[in-house]
């Protein structure tokens, strides 16, 4: 047995974790040697576009896929030498869900608990407590297929927590949910850490999810980790605020771009039809100057927007592509 892991100590420590897939004679390097450090008690977001290698990494860390190379200690157990130790101490909520529609929620949770060797009475108690904690108190006899998307996702989380794991992996938990259910799910995930002290490793391709939920972020692209830090730290890497001007006509946009490009601290503006977009270090103080300069040049903007940098801007700066693509 591994020693009890204290808050702040390493919960995940992966070194040069790598996974290739062979498909039709081609080798796909899905994950190209990633280092991951997660401390106990953290919520760490694993952000990247579709196909970046998030699920593959998660499956390696949860013993579902064997790494091609590299090593990892997860929840205090060596991934290769003691996969059973890892399994006993982690929870995993897969991207695809975890229930078939015809199964009844309560029975399904209890039978899942039995796979951990938990006796039926204890499983029953824990299941009811967890369901209540995740606002699912009345779904016990319901068929999984009759639950709403948000309820079913929370049911998946209940299953992933049934053995009181110290570390839980969530693979894109809010994909396909409406905004309200997503916000609700985030509240529950935060509660998990705040009230139970569970360490959470969550993958997502939504920057707002990564931003609002994670203490710290790892950004992955094409199988490699391209940045790491708190959301605030990462945003500092971006060229300041974005100013977006909407003009009445395209020729106004060209002129406005000329004016904007002369402002102190501005980068080269990009025009797209009626829209001009550029970056400045301080959006709020630049705006009055910009408007005055435009008025002097005799052009009028019909819309002005200042945006603080988002994680998408971070991703764009790092990779030259948008997360939304």
């Amino acid at each position: 047995m591994g020693a009890e892991i204290q808050a702040g100590q390493a919960m995940i420590e992966a070194r040069q974790l790598k996974r290739d897939f062979k498909a039709r004679g081609r080798t796909i390097e899905a994950v190209r040697g990633v280092d991951i450090d997660v401390a106990a008690g953290e919520i760490v977001g694993f952000l990247g576009p579709n196909g970046a290698g998030k699920t593959t990494t998660l499956k390696m860390l949860t013993t579902l896929l064997r790494p091609t190379d590299g090593s990892a200690t997860v929840a205090g157990f060596d991934l290769r030498r003691d996969p059973q130790g890892v399994r006993r101490n982690i929870g995993y909520v897969g991207q695809a869900g975890s229930t078939i529609g015809s199964a009844r929620a309560g029975e399904e949770i209890v039978s899942h608990a039995r796979l951990y060797g938990i006796d039926a009475a204890t499983a029953n108690d824990r299941a009811r407590n967890l369901l209540a904690a995740l606002d699912l108190a009345d779904v016990w006899d319901r068929k999984c297929g009759s639950l709403s998307g948000g309820q079913r996702r929370r049911l998946d989380i209940v299953m992933g927590l049934i053995h009181n794991p110290r570390l839980v992996f969530l693979d894109e938990p809010s994909t396909g949910l409406d905004p309200q259910s997503r916000a609700n799910l985030w509240t529950h995930i935060r509660k998990l850490r705040d009230e139970l002290g569970t360490t959470v490793f969550i993958t997502t391709h939504y920057m707002d999810e990564a931003d609002s939920l994670s203490d710290r972020l790892l950004i992955i692209d094409k199988g490699e980790i391209v940045a790491e830090g708190t959301p605030a730290e990462l945003k500092k890497k971006v060229r300041g605020d974005t100013i977006t001007l909407t003009m009445r006509e395209e020729k106004d946009a060209t002129e406005a771009a000329g004016v904007a490009g002369l402002l102190a601290g501005a980068d080269a503006p990009a025009t797209d039809g009626h829209i001009v977009r550029f970056h400045v270090s301080e959006g709020a103080s630049t705006l009055p100057v910009l408007l005055a300069e435009l008025a002097r040049a005799g052009i009028e903007a019909i819309g002005v927007e200042v945006n603080r940098p988002t994680l998408d801007d971070v991703f764009l700066t790092l990779t030259g592509r948008s997360l939304r693509d």
């Binding site: 013993t63 579902l64 897969g94 078939i100 529609g101 899942h112």
Partner: protein, 195 residues
Amino acid sequence: MVFVPGLLVQLGIFGGLFVGFGIIAEWRAGVIDRMMVTPASRTALIAGRVLRDVVVLVAQAIILISCAFLFGLRVPLWAIAAGLVLIGLLGAAFSFLSYAFGLITKSEDAFAPLVNSLALPVLLLSGILLPMSLAPAWLQALASINPFKHVVDALRAIFRGEIGTPEVALGVALAAVLVVLGAWFGNRVFEGQTK
């Protein structure tokens, strides 16, 4: 009443073979990953499913035999019990195989033709659909290396009230070997899921 053994074997083969569709659905819904991430033994995960299938199969077989009784089937109780064991073994072997193929293909579109191409020769060559005595010599020779023919023959013998004859022994032994092979293969495929 010569139909009953044939029907039972058919029940065992098809009941077993089609369970693979279920596991493809489970895999797609994330159920397999959810179970694989627990410390539960991989053997238990597949064998548990197979045992459930065998229970269902035996229940179906009992219903079928009860109906046959209404229509005048008269065989001793021990023969029925022995027959159910044989059918259970056959069903288990096919369940193991079917789960293995389901998880190898992971797609109904690939699984369905695979199962059909397996079921058809097995049925034809076991003399369930047509009596093998009508077949040309080469087909009979082919049939005699089909283990399922011997299982059907054993079941027919049991229903005739024979037990302990070489025919029965061969059929039961072959069915048991098929279960062992199926279990070995199924277990391998289950374990291979996390490779």
